[in-house]
C-alpha cells in the first residue's frame, strides 16, 4: 500500500518534470511573441507580459502596413522597416506549392515502387531496397534531398505491415 502511494508521487514528479522540459522553452517563445518590441528588450525579462498584444501576429500575416510590403518589395524607395517585411502571403503560397507538389510526386512515384517491393517477387528487389535506404539515409548528405526517399521507405513499411496482415 505504502509503495503504491510512493509510486504515484514519484510518477507525478516525473510527469511535472517532463511537462516543463517539453513546454518551458517553447512557452518562452510564445510569451515573447505577444510582447511589444520594447518589452522584449527589458532586463530582467518579464515572465508575464505587462501589456500583451497581438500586433506582431497581425504584422506578420499582413506583411506590414496594409499588406503593401509585398507589393513594395524590391521597389527603389520601399516604405517598410525590417520587421514589417515578412512577405507572409508570398512565403505561405510558396510553402503550399512546395508541400502539395512534394506530397503528390512522392506518393505517385513512391507508392507503386513500394507496392512492387512489398508484394511482387523479382530479382534484385532486395538490392533495390538497400539502394533506396542507403542512398536516402547516408549518401544524401551530398545532395540534401531526403524527403522523397524517406517517404518511400515509410510507404514500404506501411505496405509490408499490411501484407503481414493479409498473409497471417
Amino acid at each position: 500500500m505504502k509503495s503504491s502511494v510512493w509510486r504515484k508521487f514519484l510518477l507525478f514528479i516525473a510527469a511535472v518534470f517532463v511537462f516543463s522540459y517539453l513546454v518551458a522553452p517553447f512557452s518562452w517563445v510564445v510569451i515573447t511573441s505577444i510582447m511589444t518590441e520594447r518589452e522584449t528588450l527589458s532586463v530582467p525579462p518579464h515572465w508575464i507580459p505587462h501589456n500583451p498584444t497581438l500586433k506582431n501576429y497581425v504584422l506578420f500575416v499582413t506583411g506590414g502596413k496594409g499588406g503593401n510590403a509585398v507589393a513594395d518589395y524590391g521597389k527603389s524607395s520601399p516604405q517598410w522597416t525590417p520587421q514589417s517585411v515578412t512577405r507572409f502571403p508570398v512565403s505561405f503560397r510558396n510553402s503550399v506549392i512546395v508541400s502539395i507538389s512534394v506530397v503528390l510526386l512522392t506518393l505517385s512515384m513512391g507508392a507503386p515502387a513500394a507496392y512492387a517491393l512489398a508484394r511482387l517477387r523479382f530479382r534484385g528487389s532486395r538490392l533495390l531496397l538497400v539502394a533506396y535506404i542507403s542512398l536516402s539515409g547516408i549518401w544524401d548528405y551530398l545532395t540534401r534531398c531526403q524527403g522523397l526517399f524517406s517517404r518511400i521507405l515509410l510507404s514500404h513499411c506501411l505496405l509490408s505491415s499490411g501484407s503481414y496482415e493479409v498473409t497471417s
Binding site: 517539453l22 505517385s108 511482387l120 533495390l128 545532395t143
Partner: protein
C-alpha cells in the same frame, strides 16, 4: 481482407493480360523512382566525388586540374579536420547518448498510467514539430547573453550574480548546442521506444511476478530485450543525423567561439560556400559520408542480430 486479396489477384491478372511478367511489372513500377534517384541523388553523388578529385576553387575560375587524391591527403593532414572530427565525435557521442537515454526514460514514464498522460503524449510532439533551424533560433533567444531568459532565470534565482554570455564561451557553447539538439530530436526516439514498449505482451510481466523477479530484474530481462530493436533503429538514425548536424550550429554559434563548435558539416559549409573551395569542400562531404556508412555497417554488424534488424 477478402477485398485486398481480390484486388491483388485482379492486379496480377491485369498485368498478365498486358503480357508482362511479374518481374518486369515490378521494374516498371520502380522505374520512375529509380529514374528520379539517378537524376537527383546518384548524379550529385558522383559529381561530388568527381569534384573532390579536382582542385576547384571558385575564386580561380577556368582552372580545374585533376589532382587524384591530393585533396584527401590535404584534409587528412590538416589539424583543422582533426579538430572538427574530434568535436563531431564529442557532439555525436553525447547527443546520441542523451537522445537514447532521455527517449527511453520519457517512453517509460509515458507508458505508465497517471492522470494527464494523454496530454503529455500529445505534448511530446511539440519539440518534434519544430524545424531544426527554428529550434536553433529559439535556443539562441533563450541563451542570449543580454536579454536571454536563461540568464534572467538564473539571476533571479540568485545562482549567478551577473549575466553570462553562454554561447560565446568555449566551455559552455558546445554543451548548450548539444542540449538544444537533444531537445529537438528526443521526441522521435521516445515515440519509437514507446511503440516498442506497448508491444510487450503483458503475460511476460505476470510470469516475471510469478518468478518473483524484482523491478530491476524485470526491466533487464523482460523490458530491455524487447526494446533492443527500437533502440538500435534510434541509434542508427541518430548517428546518421548527429554526424551531420548543421542547423543548430549555423543558428546558435556559427562554429564558434573560435572553433569550439566547428563540426565537420560546418567545416564543409565554410570551406565550400564561404572560402569557395569546392574541391576541398566536396572532399569533406565525401569523408563524412564514408565515416557515417562505416558506422552504420558496424552498428548493423554488432547490434543487428541483437535487435534483429533485417533489410
Amino acid at each position: 481482407l477478402d477485398m485486398q486479396t481480390e484486388v491483388q489477384s485482379r492486379m496480377k491478372e491485369g498485368f498478365r493480360s498486358l503480357r508482362l511478367s511479374e518481374s518486369s511489372f515490378a521494374f516498371l513500377l520502380n522505374a520512375p523512382t529509380v529514374l528520379l534517384i539517378l537524376l537527383l541523388v546518384a548524379y550529385p553523388i558522383v559529381y561530388s566525388i568527381w569534384l573532390s578529385l579536382h582542385s576547384y576553387h571558385l575564386a580561380r575560375p577556368g582552372r580545374f586540374p585533376f589532382v587524384v587524391l591530393s585533396n584527401y591527403l590535404k584534409v587528412l593532414s590538416s589539424p583543422e579536420f582533426w579538430d572538427a572530427a574530434k568535436i563531431t565525435a564529442i557532439f555525436a557521442f553525447f547527443s546520441i547518448i542523451g537522445v537514447v537515454i532521455l527517449g527511453t526514460l520519457l517512453a517509460l514514464i509515458l507508458n505508465e498510467s497517471f492522470p494527464g498522460r494523454g496530454v503529455l503524449r500529445a505534448l511530446i510532439l511539440l519539440p518534434w514539430a519544430m524545424p531544426p533551424v527554428v529550434n536553433g533560433l529559439m535556443w539562441v533567444w533563450i541563451f542570449d547573453g543580454r536579454l536571454g531568459a536563461f540568464n534572467g532565470l538564473l539571476y533571479s534565482l540568485g545562482i549567478i550574480d551577473s549575466y553570462r554570455i553562454w554561447l560565446s564561451n568555449p566551455v559552455t557553447s558546445l554543451p548548450i548546442v548539444i542540449f538544444a539538439y537533444i531537445w529537438n530530436r528526443v521526441p522521435f526516439s521516445a515515440i519509437v521506444i514507446l511503440a516498442a514498449l506497448q508491444a510487450i505482451p503483458l503475460e511476460l510481466y505476470d510470469a516475471a511476478k510469478v518468478d518473483r523477479a524484482g523491478r530491476l530484474q524485470t526491466f533487464r530481462h523482460v523490458t530491455l530485450p524487447w526494446l533492443w530493436q527500437a533502440i538500435t533503429i534510434v541509434l542508427i538514425l541518430q548517428t546518421m543525423t548527429a554526424m551531420r548536424v548543421f542547423d543548430e550550429i549555423y543558428m546558435m554559434t556559427g562554429g564558434g567561439p573560435g572553433s569550439a563548435t566547428t563540426v565537420l558539416a560546418w567545416l564543409t559549409y565554410r570551406t565550400a560556400f564561404l572560402a569557395l573551395d569546392f574541391g576541398l569542400g566536396n572532399t569533406y562531404a565525401v569523408i563524412i559520408s564514408i565515416i557515417t556508412t562505416i558506422l552504420v555497417i558496424v552498428y548493423v554488424a554488432t547490434l543487428g542480430h541483437r535487435g534483429e534488424i533485417r533489410i
